[in-house]
Symmetry: C2
Amino acid sequence: MALLARSRRLRRTPFSEGVEAAGVGAYSVYNHMLLPAYFESLESDYAHLKKNVQVWDVAVERQVELRGPDANKLMQTLTPRDLRGMLPGQCFYLPVVDETGGMLNDPVAVKLSEDHYWISIADSDLLLWVKGIANAYRMEVLVEEPDVHPLAIQGPRSDELAARVFGESVRNLRFFRFGSFNFEGHDVIVARSGYSKQGGFEIYVEGWDLGMPIWNALFEAGKDLNVRAGCPNAIERIEGGLLSYGNDMTRENTPHECGLGKFCNTQTAIGCIGRDALLRVAKDGPIRQIRPIEIDEKVPTCDRAWPIMSKDQTIGSLTSAAWSPDFECTVAIGMVRMTHWEAGSELLIKTPEGPVLGTVKDSFWT
Amino acid sequence: MALLARSRRLRRTPFSEGVEAAGVGAYSVYNHMLLPAYFESLESDYAHLKKNVQVWDVAVERQVELRGPDANKLMQTLTPRDLRGMLPGQCFYLPVVDETGGMLNDPVAVKLSEDHYWISIADSDLLLWVKGIANAYRMEVLVEEPDVHPLAIQGPRSDELAARVFGESVRNLRFFRFGSFNFEGHDVIVARSGYSKQGGFEIYVEGWDLGMPIWNALFEAGKDLNVRAGCPNAIERIEGGLLSYGNDMTRENTPHECGLGKFCNTQTAIGCIGRDALLRVAKDGPIRQIRPIEIDEKVPTCDRAWPIMSKDQTIGSLTSAAWSPDFECTVAIGMVRMTHWEAGSELLIKTPEGPVLGTVKDSFWT
């Protein structure tokens, strides 16, 4: 594995001190910031995550803050999801698209109040798109990256750990809802959400200096729960069908290709910049789509899109893959043309170390 | 040094195969793409660069392409530099600013023709800002990331190497001019430019598949010139005062704070989005500015902004530092308040391993 050269440009987070002390094994870089990739090993972190509870430094989920009378209008400009029913206290997963319907990001928006949102972003500088739009349309809204740093609690023992630090009432939070909870005199936003299928919370830590106190409180409170430092786990997220922007989708793809059609209410999402293009796609449907793909054997690290072939024709590309200890196969995600996307279709995948056979599955592994 | 976990999201380049074969020592990540950080070591690469010639994979300088009748108008919207005098065949270094005059990027723009530009960007998704502006203003211009991948030739023997591959006439290129040259039947844009002070060229390789043939041709032609794979060198670029977006400046800073006032013709740059804010700054001048700072001793890797103190007051921050074998001191770049920015001012710099003393220099080290 290659080394990562450090510089200020690859930003540290409020939790980096804790991450280093916990013995991070490798980093990725995400939104110009350090994202742990594993601690002990992918496999060992994975096994622990599924049975216990972990604390994740996901400060790389940078926030784009909208505040002002035009915040609602600007939000609807960004996405084909109809936001009229969104209430303060809710989190919405959103495709954000450009004028051609190409995916710019797939964030979770947090509605703090009628004129105040945080958009918790995937790996692209969405701030620049939102600022550009807001400025050119002269909208009455402030657009900034606030001093907010998400920290996740994930795993089956998340409720127990969160309750010990934020109080019993945190257990009552419904999925993709948030509330304000007390931590040592500070009001802290906690949402039931996170980038795993094991359940848990995301804490929106407001203020850099509050980072390590919350980190330390969670580890102190969770000793007997076998709490560990963790991070989004490549195996678990593929099993669960959690897509990764930049890996499984790019600006080349529409939400429909990414299987996000259920988040597109394109008819009624009036104001969405990509609406014209997506009305067309919504009518005809996509000609390629993301699929779970199962491979019997182990494969190399998927560090580039691997062509998926049928005879001499390229009919897709595979973009994420990892060996699953639980399912005893390689779990993978790929974009496949409609001629080959039915469950059971057999695919030939060209890895840098030679071709392997895969099969389209009818659902992800959870 | 930490490990870097690989994934498709951290994009490979057309030259990655060559970079790996040459034994890259560590990577950084830049514009969601792999950027070599050193090969043998920072010091050994540095010594070689100053005496010989190197080939650099700088495909991370992604291009934002503008094409169409409103390309000129859109370009001027982006920057306070007056572009009316820019001719096809020229490269311009440009501050790109938001509506508050904050730096969004410091690219080199390449004017291919009256309605066609490539903007060769630093580390932020400038494409999203430019697309947002162009779309909201309904400008008649296409904005895309084209299939173009810069490869640099840098070092004192650059002319000799470039001439062997692209023909003798490449020697006649003036600084920040480009021309079209023949490579095995392809027209290739070559500019006299690059991110070092050792002279050289940047080749705008059009088409992924042309990458390795040009890479290989350069190494074949340069055997007796002691050509090596290299990359932007942290020591050499600090000595030469080449700023790094994300390290030495961010959206927090105006061009004037970055010492880029000479690239601001704010009075006449009509249309520039940050003009109103920068007219104010141009009038009063900045209250802090980038300075070369010399430190006698060695310091740790500068992976975060280090506070610069005077008594108990923070009067700046230091953002890049490296030990210079040639100047036998630590060469550094920092942002310093006007009360302490005069040459000769003594500064106390708080590194994570303790305080060190530095001195403001009147110029960089070349």
